[in-house]
């Protein structure tokens, strides 16, 4: 930035900061609806102001690192990006006001000065947005992994009997996982019977039915038996309307009945003692 601008900002540092802090109370009302404690807000503003003034004389790399740790802090606290963008816009307004009211910058240099300040603010905002979105992508990626682990678990309940409870919508990616986890799990747990429980699946359309049919055929090919349980009455009716024939597939109304059948198939039974 132009030396004269920097000098002006530097000389009026306290005044600018004062002005900015005052205007930031509007941001507090606007962005947080006053739900953030006043002291926390003021402390964060202090840090924000230090970051801004630092950015003028810090080395480029240091400035970036400083910005990054500030972004991380905001994300940790769950503060919206608009706190930062509004903060920068407010700072720009304050600086422009003091430039136009002062006489340090000759009026023929005014346009150039405005332009420089604009560019500097944009750069800060862009950097922070990058930090923010990078951090969100990481979070999203981790959540996706966690979801994937939960999406089609095969649980061994007895020797040779496993259950796969399905909860929620089945899309193509999940259908693939169901197949993989079934086949891998059958080998790993030496299952002879697997129960697929669809109590928690909201919609069974022809795609879901098709995937379940294919999965149970594959299960049969690796030498195990597949029983479909938890078909709700309204789902049973829509399956019939769709004209899907599940006649070939063993089904049971409840997980309990399915487990009893599984015990019979593996030549065991549950008895009361």
């Amino acid at each position: 930035m132009h030396a004269a601008v920097l000098e002006m900002i530097y000389n009026q540092r306290n005044e600018i900061k004062e002005n900015w802090s005052e205007k930031m109370t509007l941001v507090r009302n606007d962005v947080f609806k006053e739900k953030v404690p006043k002291t926390l807000f003021q402390d964060t503003n202090e840090e924000f102001a230090a970051l801004i003034f630092n950015s003028f004389d810090a080395e480029l790399e240091d400035g970036r690192a400083f910005l990054r740790s500030f972004a991380e802090k905001l994300i940790r606290m769950g503060w919206p990006l608009s706190y930062f963008t509004k903060g920068m816009q407010t700072f720009r307004r304050v600086v422009l006001e003091s430039i136009s009211s002062g006489s340090e910058i000759p009026s023929k240099k005014m346009y150039e000065t405005f332009y420089e300040i604009e560019e500097w603010v944009d750069e800060m905002v862009n950097q922070l947005v990058d930090e923010y979105s990078g951090s969100w992508e990481t979070t999203l990626h981790q959540q996706r992994l966690a979801l994937k682990e939960l999406s089609a678990p095969l649980i061994p309940v007895f020797d040779n009997i496993s259950v796969m409870p399905l909860i929620g919508t089945i899309d193509t990616e999940r259908a693939k996982l169901i197949m993989e986890n079934l086949l891998d799990g059958i080998i790993e747990h030496r299952s002879q019977v697997v129960l697929i429980d669809i109590t928690g699946v909201p919609v069974v359309d022809t795609m879901v039915a098709h995937h379940i049919i294919q999965a149970s055929e594959a299960v049969r090919l690796v030498g195990a038996e597949c029983i479909l349980v938890g078909i709700r009455p309204e789902i049973a009716q829509t399956i019939v309307n769709l004209g899907i024939d599940l006649g070939k597939f063993p089904t049971k109304s409840s997980l309990r009945k399915g487990i009893e059948t599984g015990m019979e198939l593996t030549k065991r039974q549950i008895i009361n003692v």
Binding site: T206, M207, A209, P233, E234, T238, N241, L242, G243, I244
Partner: protein
């Protein structure tokens, strides 16, 4: 007064949103759980066909009313619109088991059975509009 919502379908998320919008409206106008499931499943079939065969399109869900000498009846109308390749032989795709994608081929004939009224309007190279209605009994 008629309520209308339109959902863009060009990802699998769009299919889920369309289904949700349909289920909410069906519930709101008083369909029982079986008919809610029928309407939701029909939307799922039509939306998935859009996603698979036309890449993108939209699902419009609205309430409709019809007046008779004996009174009025209410229903839910689903319109699936796309500007995809169109359907060459409508009789063929309405046969159980006909599929060009290795699916079950039960979607379109299934939707016809799940709903009360059903209509396909398709022009090869221009796109497809499918409407289906379920009346409240």
């Amino acid at each position: 007064m008629s309520v209308q919502s339109s959902v863009e379908v060009h990802t699998e998320w769009g299919i889920v949103s369309a289904r949700q919008a349909g289920r909410n409206l069906a519930k709101e106008i008083g369909f029982g759980s079986v008919d809610q499931a029928r309407v939701t499943t029909a939307i799922s079939e039509l939306a998935r066909n859009i996603y698979l065969y036309a890449e993108k399109g939209e699902i419009i869900i609205e309430t409709i009313e019809q007046y008779h000498s004996s009174g009025a009846k209410k229903g839910i109308k689903i319109t699936a619109k796309d500007r995809g390749p169109g359907i060459k032989n409508i009789r063929e795709v309405m046969e159980d088991g006909f599929t060009t994608s290795g699916g079950l081929g039960a979607g379109l004939p299934g939707v016809k059975r799940l709903m009360d009224d059903f209509d396909i309007d398709s022009v090869v190279g221009e796109g497809t509009v499918i409407t289906a209605v379920k009346w409240l009994r």
